[in-house]
């Protein structure tokens, strides 16, 4: 059916001869309480077919009614993508026959999307900014979920039958479509990943989607074509469907570039078709050719009247827009004074919110970073939990830090106290009190411990007298042991020097 070959050309070599052109369709599931056209709950993980109304089943005589919140969320997405918002738009029926929709059509938008002509500036790893033009963002509904039974491992190939759950049918979707992305060159796979990551971050930041790719809240179809370096016309594209992790988006684009180059090098033509992504082999296989199956015979949905957006409504929504994630990062980095790598690590660790809250609660940016990237990250990893789920609050960090700065406890004790906080024993101050963890810095007790240590190690004392100040460290062990680790190291050092008249 298709004349493709799985021969691949080395990525760099392919890019020497061809320019890639990309295009993305990203579907975002909105987290409204109800579905797009019915008042059934929009909820993930419920028992099959429990969130279903007659509208979702397409029963005769039903009348869909548009969810106002879903429209507002769609406008918010459009605004965040720097789009124009249509003054008037409507819905259309996209006709196809498949058991994932019992209506035999998907209610979507056709030639009048609610948002159009936008752009998103994508910052790549090294700081280079690449502008991706947005063609449109339109409203539609999700389809039901099919589970293929029998055959091999739930794949449709060889399945005996399929089971359908319509809980997801009618869940509000916004489909975001880019214009062709030209000029990314070797950075195409990286840009692909960064673009989908940016869209996911934006919808999460807007609060309009749970934005969990592993749950299918954000799904990506990736279009790839190659054109020879000297060509002025785009090549034939393929559309790799349902590439549903950021890593997979990057790999799928890279794979298709390598595969297209091999096909074109051999003199054959790329078949315009959908491709299926396989995470296990990091490759794509041929799906169906783009032909009559794309003949959806759209026509205006007669059961739904047009949506008219007034300037006042749009501006009210615009005033609700949060600070864009990219701008926020730029601002925080400047405010906190972190080095590039420090800041990148903080972003990758996903603790921007935590550090921001800790700084707001009164800690310095350096202290906040030390805790969240250090001990808290370590404890989260040890407990196999997300940092956010560990139960450490910004107030805990501020309190721990003021205990350290007030010399009530040292760093080492503070780390222990943190573990007790996580274990639910109370606030840091309560724990220090209850467990008698306050640093021993009354000079009598410390003086005695120092005397004992010096008596036990005369050779060390001689070294110190001879000017080897680092030898004081050798006394620290016995002193800490005598005070159960609660001695203030700085004070111990001072006492030693005083005693030796240095």
């Amino acid at each position: 059916m298709s004349n493709y070959t799985d021969e691949l050309v080395d990525f760099d070599e392919a890019l020497d001869r061809y320019d890639p052109v990309l295009g993305f369709e990203v579907h975002v599931e909105l987290n409204t309480k109800t579905k797009m056209f019915s008042d059934a709950p929009n909820a993930f993980g419920d028992d099959p077919n429990t969130n279903v109304t007659p509208v979702d089943l397409g029963l005769p005589g039903v009348l869909p009614v548009v969810n106002k919140t879903a429209v507002e969320y769609s406008i918010l997405i459009g605004l965040a993508l720097n789009c124009q918002i249509a003054e008037k738009c409507g819905f259309a029926r996209k006709n196809y026959f498949y058991p994932d929709t019992p209506k035999n059509f998907q209610t979507s938008q056709y030639d009048d999307p609610i948002a159009y002509d936008g752009y998103l500036d994508i910052e790549l790893e090294d700081g280079e900014v690449f502008r991706v033009e947005i063609e449109r963002a339109h409203m539609e509904e999700d389809a039901g979920k099919l589970t293929h039974m029998g055959g091999a491992a739930g794949r449709i190939q060889g399945a005996d039958y399929s089971l359908v759950d319509y809980n997801r049918a009618g869940v509000p979707l916004v489909e975001i479509v880019t214009k062709p992305i030209v000029g990314a060159g070797k950075r195409a796979p990286e840009l692909a990943r960064a673009y989908v990551a940016a869209v996911r971050e934006i919808v999460k930041n807007l609060g309009v989607s749970d934005a969990k790719m592993e749950r299918g809240n954000v799904r990506c179809d990736a279009n790839v074509s190659l054109m020879p370096k000297d060509a002025d016309k785009f090549g034939t594209r393929t559309e790799t469907k349902n590439v549903n992790s950021l890593r997979a988006v990057e790999h799928a684009v890279r794979f298709e570039i390598e595969r297209h180059a091999a096909v074109l090098d051999s003199g054959a033509k790329i078949v315009q078709e959908t491709r299926h992504w396989h995470e296990d082999t990091r490759s794509t296989t041929s799906g169906r050719p783009k032909s009559d199956a794309d003949d959806y015979r759209y026509f205006p949905e007669p059961d739904l009247v047009p949506i008219v957006t007034t300037a006042q409504w749009v501006e009210e929504l615009r005033s609700r827009l949060p600070e864009p994630p990219a701008e926020r990062r730029k601002r925080l980095k400047a405010e906190w004074g972190y080095a590039d790598k420090e800041f990148r690590d903080v972003v990758n660790a996903g603790v921007l919110d935590e550090i921001e809250a800790t700084v707001a609660a009164g800690a310095s940016a350096a202290v906040a970073r030390k805790w969240w990237m250090g001990e808290i990250a370590r404890l989260a990893k040890a407990a196999d939990k997300d940092i956010a789920d560990l139960g450490v609050t910004p107030a805990t960090i501020v309190e721990l830090n003021s205990l350290i700065e007030g010399k009530k406890i040292n760093d080492k004790i503070a780390r222990q106290v943190l573990e007790f906080v996580i274990a639910g024993e109370g606030t840091p101050s309560e724990i220090v009190e209850k467990r008698s963890l306050a640093v021993v810095n009354d000079d009598d007790a410390l003086g005695k411990a120092v005397d004992d240590a010096m008596a036990a190690m005369p050779d060390v004392v001689e070294k110190i007298k001879g000017g080897k100040m680092q030898a004081i460290g050798a006394l620290m062990g016995p002193v800490m042991k005598a005070t159960r680790g609660q001695a203030d190291a700085g004070r111990v050092r001072e006492i030693v020097m005083e005693k030796l008249g240095l």
Partner: protein
């Protein structure tokens, strides 16, 4: 001139997953052509300054608040299902649909 050819009907039947005999195709070609012809007469009446419409009443923004309502029981949901299994509709495996 015919607006609907026999090939058009074959194509539509394929899209709709409907199997049609040769006699049925012939019959349907004539009937669909008559329907399309009748509808076409509307555009002869409408002048170019009349915008296309999909709704006879000039309503806009019929919206509902995002509030959860009543759903069907499982028994009601599956009442018309030809077959079901584990509270889900059971359908023949259909290869490579979208």
């Amino acid at each position: 001139m015919s607006a609907i050819s026999r090939e058009d009907v074959v194509h539509l039947a394929h899209l709709a997953h409907i199997e049609m005999s040769g006699a049925e195709l012939d019959k349907m070609t004539g009937e669909l052509d008559a329907i399309v012809g009748a509808i076409a007469s509307v555009s002869e009446v409408a002048s170019s300054d009349v915008p296309a419409t999909s709704h006879p009443i000039p309503l806009t923004n019929v919206l509902r608040e995002d509030t959860v309502g009543q759903t069907l029981s499982i028994d009601e949901v599956l009442l018309n299902a030809p077959d079901s299994d584990s509270d889900r509709f059971k359908v023949p495996a259909i290869l490579d649909g979208e």
